[in-house]
């Protein structure tokens, strides 16, 4: 509702600014009518003339029409084929005359056909509107014009920019204009000197738009010419056939397509030739039935070639000789060597910084992944690591936490408040579930760890299926509040979403909290006492039952909070926990059982490793997971007690 109001308000303002004198009004309709077929066809490939006609009409209403068209407010009245503006209202359409801007009707939208320019056409319209918008009084409009320029730069934009740049009152916009002007100069500047200066100005600038401006300057085409002929054009590099840059087959194919060498006769072609030369069940004197072997086929072909029935095959050496007589070059499409040299130098200066930033970005991703694994595993570090209880249902506690978050969002529509409510509630829910599990099941199995594993697995499938039956198997949205929505953008390369930062923070908080509880509180002391020697602890007046229950609840409760965090960036499904359980166990085992620091080390190692492998092979995410697990298996063979291995008596517990 408010968005609509605001839009209307903006509209009125813009209308007022661009209100046109009435006498020209007849013409704008006729321009549209002339191009009606194009506008209705609504294809980027054919729309050009229609946009040009509007832009070059010089009519005051043209910008308004283009804006409205672009915003899908241009309608065709089916009854008489007249174009009108339309604004959607609650009960239909408010129809506005395109020439006068007056409301000429309101009601249901039957009989009006909406023009639906696709994103490609909208881009073209925006580019065409640059000339109007750059001179607009409204700063927002000018900013939009600059966006359009940045998106699809065109030669004429350069002059436009240069004319308005000096009059720009807004310093931020002006800076943006100046930068854009330099970017455009790189590509469309008049003189080479001007372009070289602009290019050199971008040394070390890793912004995407800089690279986007430089790359076209460095575009090349591949040519082949006799070796002794002088090189034509602005040579980028000489190529040697048989290298990675130019494989032999490709080089030879270039000669073939240039008509400089005979077509290479491959196996398939030879086969076809043999088939074409079958005579009386024989080819080249060899019976067809014997041609089920490549060697026989080659021999038959050779016989045919000798007889002159088919062209002879070229030999490897002949081809190499032939290629040796030609020079293969990449030629810059840009004729000026000065410009391309400068661009190449600038690109090179960017390269190293770029690589560094890419590593930095990968490092951030890895840290983020590590913090997610840590958060998922930290509860387990307590129940498994400290208490020695294998809880296969740990993943389900994470899932319960995530569902709690989703349920809270159903009740509390404000995302910020709902997250604030959901975090403690998820803890409570998972804590309760954990205590119940401990009291009802695990308590009976303290001396049978393998059976704890199986029993908690039973619990795990039961919880998972119950949640699926009750809430359905479709993924549930757990939406982050707006202040967590965007990313922290350092530059075009290095950025990380706020949610991930928040998860990272949460992980740190829990690390600190747990260390505090275990090392600095009475509860922590009792927990350590009970895990190290329950009978001794009991004789010191500690109630082991109570401590076990509380510890288990604490570990489970943290899993619940982890669930809310994970749900915020992934999807909430009943299988959510299952996806983390094996990884979590590995995190704890790799890090070293019985130690929170170990879990931190394990999570960091696994996160770094996974991202590292992933970046080595970006098209296959599964491979990273596979090799990561293999690594973990091998790692445990050689360090069975994990990274941070406890020594002495503590290790026995």
């Amino acid at each position: 509702m408010t968005i609509l109001m605001r839009r209307l308000l903006a509209l009125v303002l813009v209308c007022a600014a661009t209100m046109a004198p009435a006498q020209e009004s007849a013409d704008i309709q006729s321009i549209l009518q002339e191009n009606r077929a194009l506008i209705e066809a609504s294809s980027r490939r054919t729309i050009g003339p229609a946009i040009d006609a509007l832009r070059e009409s010089g009519l005051d209403r043209a910008p308004e029409v283009m804006r409205r068209w672009q915003e899908r407010e241009l309608y065709l009245r089916e009854a008489d084929g007249v174009f009108v503006f339309g604004e959607e209202t609650d009960d239909g359409l408010r129809v506005i005359d395109i020439a006068t801007g007056e409301v000429i009707g309101e009601g249901p939208d039957d009989g009006y056909e909406e023009m639906r320019p696709n994103a490609g056409i909208r881009g073209l319209i925006q580019a065409a509107m640059v000339q109007f918008r750059l001179q607009d009084e409204n700063a927002a409009q000018r900013a939009r014009a600059l966006d359009a320029v940045a998106r699809s730069p065109e030669p004429e934009h350069l002059d436009l920019l240069r004319t308005v740049i000096l009059d720009e009152p807004d310093p931020a916009l002006r800076a943006r204009m100046e930068r854009l002007e330099r970017l455009l100069t790189v590509q469309f500047g008049q003189s080479d000197a001007e372009r070289v200066a602009a290019i050199e100005g971008f040394r070390g600038d890793i912004a995407r738009e800089v690279r986007a401006a430089l790359t076209p300057v460095l575009a090349t085409r591949r040519t082949v010419a006799p070796e002794d002929a002088p090189a034509e054009g602005n040579v980028a590099r000489e190529l040697e056939p048989g290298t990675d840059a130019l494989p032999e087959a490709e080089a030879y194919q270039m000669l073939v397509s240039a008509g400089l060498a005979p077509e290479r006769i491959d196996r398939e072609a030879r086969r076809a030739a043999l088939v074409a030369n079958i005579e009386d069940g024989e080819v080249g004197g060899i019976p067809v039935a014997e041609l089920d072997d490549q060697e026989m086929r080659d021999r038959a072909y050779a016989t045919l070639a000798q007889a002159g029935a088919v062209p002879p095959t070229t030999l490897e050496e002949d081809r190499a000789d032939l290629m040796g007589g030609y020079a293969f070059r990449d030629i810059h499409i840009e004729p000026s060597a000065e410009v391309t040299d400068a661009a190449a130098a600038t690109m090179e200066s960017i390269e190293l910084t770029l690589r560094l930033h890419q590593w930095l970005d990968l490092g951030l991703d890895a840290l983020s992944l590590a913090s997610i694994y840590f958060l998922a595993a930290i509860g387990l570090a307590i129940t498994f690591g400290v208490m020695g209880v294998i809880n296969m249902a740990h993943g389900e506690f994470i899932m319960l936490g995530a569902f709690t978050g989703w349920l809270v969002q159903l009740v509390v529509p404000n995302y910020t408040i709902s997250i604030v409510v959901a975090l403690p509630l998820a803890f409570v829910v998972a804590f309760a579930a954990g205590v119940a599990l401990e009291r009802l099941v695990i308590r009976h199995l303290y001396h049978r760890p393998l059976e704890t594993l199986l029993a908690t697995f039973g619990i795990s499938i039961a919880i998972q299926q119950i949640v699926k039956n009750v809430f359905g198997s479709q993924a549930k949205p757990l939406t982050a509040p707006d202040w967590l929505a965007g990313s922290w953008v350092v530059n075009d390369i290095v950025s990380i979403s706020f949610i991930r930062i928040a998860i990272f923070g949460l992980a740190l908080v829990f690390l600190g909290l747990l260390l505090f509880i275990l090392n600095r509180t009475r509860l922590g002391l009792e927990v350590r006492a009970v895990t190290q020697n329950p009978r001794m602890a009991a004789s010191m007046g500690i109630n082991p039952d109570r401590i076990n229950m509380l510890t288990f609840g604490l570990g489970s409760g943290i899993a619940g909070i982890a669930g809310v965090a994970i749900g915020l960036f992934a999807q909430v499904t009943s299988e959510l926990g299952q996806n983390y359980i094996v990884q979590s166990f590995m995190t704890v085992v790799v890090g070293g059982v019985g130690n929170i620091w170990g879990t931190l080390a394990g999570a960091t190692l696994i996160g770094l490793l996974q991202k590292g492998i992933e970046s080595a092979n970006p098209s296959n995410t599964l491979a990273a997971q596979t090799y990561m697990i293999l690594f973990v298996i091998l790692f445990i063979q050689f360090r069975p007690r994990g990274i941070v291995a406890l020594r002495g008596r503590a290790a026995e517990a």
Binding site: R271, R297, I390, P449, E451, L453, A455, I459, K468, A623
Partner: protein, 415 residues
Amino acid sequence: MAQGFRERSFFARNPHVLIFLACLGVFTLAATLMSEAMGTGALSTSFTKILGQTLCLCLVAIAMDLVWGFCGILSLGHFAFFGLGGYMIGMWLMYERTRLIVEPSLAGAALPPTPQEISDAIAGQIFGVVGTSELPLVWSFAGSLPIQLALVVLVPGLLALVFGWLAFRSRVTGVYLSILTQAMTLALALYLFQNESGLRGNNGLSGLQNIPHAGGVSQAWISLWFLWGSALALALGYLLAAWIVSGKFGSVIRGIRDDETRVRFLGYPVEVYKLFVFTLTAVIAGIAGALYYPQAGIINPAELAPIASIYLAVWVAIGGRGRIWGAVLGAAAVSLVSNWFTGGGAPDIRLPGYTISWVNWWQVLLGLGFVLITIFAPKGLAGLVDLITQRRVPDRHGADAGPDQSALREAEEGR
């Protein structure tokens, strides 16, 4: 010490072997007579297949019981070996079937095909759906039945040998070993999920029920053949397992289960024993898988997911660990009941406002039931049989059944 028992025959000492073999024989005969192939049609072909599959599951359960119930290694990776066996036989089935389609079609061409052309055409058919048309290296022997049959045994066996050697050598035991085997299963499943593994990724191998060279035979008969084959394999597997656990070897592995350290101090090479049992059971699992998947028709990496191996442990635990017939009982009962529930056999319960559909709620029942059995009936269904027959397990070789004592915390503290 075992001298006194040696004088009696193996069957006399293990009456359950004969009883089991008799039951299996009667079952197979009955299933045969009632099958669609025999014309009575009391058992549909798809149900005959399910029975055959169940027998294979019983076989892998025996393997699981050997390694867990008798040797105390809770392996969460035996279903992976089972799946590997299936993959190995599946490769031949797919290759051969495709070859029989491709060869006549190529024979119609103007030139007789070269071996390379045949192999390319087969690869194009098999891998067309996953975006390649080259035969991966792992398919090198797919054209040869004897080699693939050998691989059914060798691949799971070697994997188990290498993995077991690494794990037992570093003295990884107890729950750590379980987690490690689970990681191995997950890694294997993830690896197979990748297209690069050359086993058709997520798609897996399909159409395995169509046996090459048996085009004229109806599925009714094929299902019966496999039922017989599975029954035979189960009988042999049972005999082998019973023979292994009844001798001195059996006593040693039970000793390892109950207290590994003591057995080691007695001078037995504990690692070798464990490695042997681990590898042998992996081989048995592989064979069971090779019989199972031609009946199921499809194998894909999801079959190898860690959860499948946990289910295997669940069957054995429900049946009763440490007794071979317990494992068989558990696997047969749970998989058939499971089939009945998920197949919609159980009537829905209509409560006011909600209908309990067993297709969806069966998992809950299974999960909770399993928890109850673990807590209250550690001996599983076999314990029930004990209750009825009032039979007490003679304590000849240490405890036969029940929770494994090696994991007792106090025992560990005592070290």
